[in-house]
């Protein structure tokens, strides 16, 4: 996984509305319950932040945890979501170009 790539939710994947039943990541034929760190990660997969930035922000939030462990956990979770086809990864160059158009 490229640390400079920018993950975003794939088409057909979205967070449910927060209605007190807990946050879920909805996708074709599946729903993943998100809580704590998993929700912190998914909320940051916005196509603007890079993987590196997401790791750094989570390391700040979970400052009591060992930073290397936080990084490994995040990379593992992003790979899991990628394999479930819940995330797309824009290369850094492509994302910058899109921002230029926006």
């Amino acid at each position: 996984m490229e640390l400079d790539s920018r993950p975003c939710l794939a088409v057909g994947c979205r967070l449910n509305e927060s209605d007190g039943k807990g946050r879920m990541l909805l996708m074709p034929e599946r729903a993943l319950r998100l809580n704590g760190p998993s929700l912190e990660i998914v909320e940051r997969c916005d196509g603007r932040r890079t993987v590196r930035q997401i790791i750094s922000e989570l390391q700040t939030i979970y400052s009591k945890a060992e930073p290397g462990k936080v990084e490994q956990d995040i990379l593992g979770y992003l790979a899991l979501l990628r394999d479930k086809r819940a995330l797309d990864f824009a290369s850094n160059a492509a994302a910058t170009e899109n921002e230029g158009k926006g």
Partner: protein, 366 residues
């Protein structure tokens, strides 16, 4: 008894009308007519009640859901209720304008079903010419923002075409591709002897699809369902009876699964008379095989009973005549010999045997 956990998905069988006549259709042998179908307003209420009961996803299916002229309103109503909306379709009645309208209404996901990799086999299986149109729909979908799953229903007559099916998937915008072997209920059961693949075909297909899964990891999710006749243990049918899913038939009857109507003595409630939550918790049909109280041995004391929930009740009834029997595909089931006899016949005469029954096609109800 523990508290009943909420249903997760609502399978909305909007209609039984369909331009295709597939020989393995999951609809019941007795089809509902247009005059029996629920109105837009009742469906909209059902979606709100379902979301309130905890349902996350609505799967619109049929028949062909596009046969409903109010499909756009139904999608908007389900999405408005907070549900994730999937459309399971043959794509046949679709044109670009209608596709734009259903995507704009908030459709999250389309599952496009295929009968094969080529026109000839697809037409034979579905009794309709539809394959070329499906390929056009795939091109339209590339330009639209909606998740796509391709679903290929697999059986003896098309299991040798997996490579070409995968090529169709890879040249499309699909994030998922399913290779789902026919399940043997209803129409599939009527055509079982022609549809069951041989053991050799199945082994080759599993090897091919496992390698495709590895190659496409991260690009396209490749999923497959093997025929449970060949399995050692039964499937956790519907994720357990009355445990995750509720199916609403076109006339509003709430069923624990697609085929449950075949089981004698089950009484179904209708969403026209009772709420989704009331039916989920109290309907006799949902309570009948929920949990473990109904289980016979060897299920009752089996370590796997919380994984497969005793398998499929409809299959138990179809093969043994007793809906409360252990699913006979289980290697531990007292009636497994009945399944083995079917496999022996299929594998004995081989896939190329001249023994060919006539297809029983599913009709299109008025």
């Amino acid at each position: 008894m523990n508290a009943i956990s909420p249903p997760l998905a609502l399978i909305a069988e909007l209609t039984h009308r369909c331009p295709l006549h597939c020989v393995y259709c999951s609809n019941p042998r007795e089809l509902k007519h247009r005059a029996d179908e629920l109105s837009t307003e009742v469906w909209a209420r059902v979606f709100r009640e379902a979301a309130g009961a905890g349902v996350l996803q609505a799967d619109f299916t049929g028949g062909e859901p596009l046969a409903r002229p109010d499909l756009v309103d139904l999608i908007r109503a389900a999405r408005g209720a907070g549900l994730y909306v999937s459309l399971i379709t043959s794509g046949l009645p679709l044109d670009e304008a209608r596709l734009d309208a259903i995507v704009a209404a908030g459709l999250d996901h389309i599952q496009l079903s295929f009968q094969g990799a080529q026109e000839e086999i697809a037409s034979e299986i579905s009794g309709t010419k539809s394959h070329a149109h499906k390929l056009r729909v795939l091109e339209w979908l590339k330009k639209r923002r909606v998740a796509l799953t391709l679903n290929f229903v697999i059986h003896r007559e098309n299991i040798e075409q997996l490579e070409e099916m995968l090529e169709i998937g890879e040249s499309s915008s699909a994030g998922r591709i399913e290779f789902a072997n026919v399940q043997y209920y209803g129409w599939g059961f009527a055509n079982r002897e022609r549809l069951l693949p041989t053991r050799a075909q199945l082994d080759r297909s599993v090897e091919f699809l496992e390698s495709a899964q590895r190659r496409l990891r991260g690009k396209m999710s490749v999923e497959f369902v093997v025929p449970d006749y060949y399995a050692k243990y039964p499937k956790p049918c519907m994720g357990g009876w009355g445990r995750k899913l509720m199916l609403i038939s076109p006339d509003g009857e709430a069923l624990p699964c697609h085929a449950a109507r075949m089981i004698p003595g089950l009484r179904f409630d209708n969403v026209k008379e009772r709420s989704v939550l009331d039916i989920w918790e109290n309907s006799e049909a949902f309570r009948k095989f929920r949990g473990e109280g109904w289980m016979p041995e060897p299920c009752k004391s089996c370590d796997r009973r919380e994984q497969d929930f005793g398998g499929c009740r409809c299959q138990a009834f179809l093969i043994t005549g007793d809906a409360a029997a252990t699913d006979p595909v289980c290697s531990l089931a007292p009636e497994r010999a009945r399944v083995d006899a079917v496999l022996a016949a299929v594998n004995g005469r081989g896939a190329d045997s001249a023994a060919r029954a006539e297809w029983v096609y599913r009709p299109n109800p008025a």
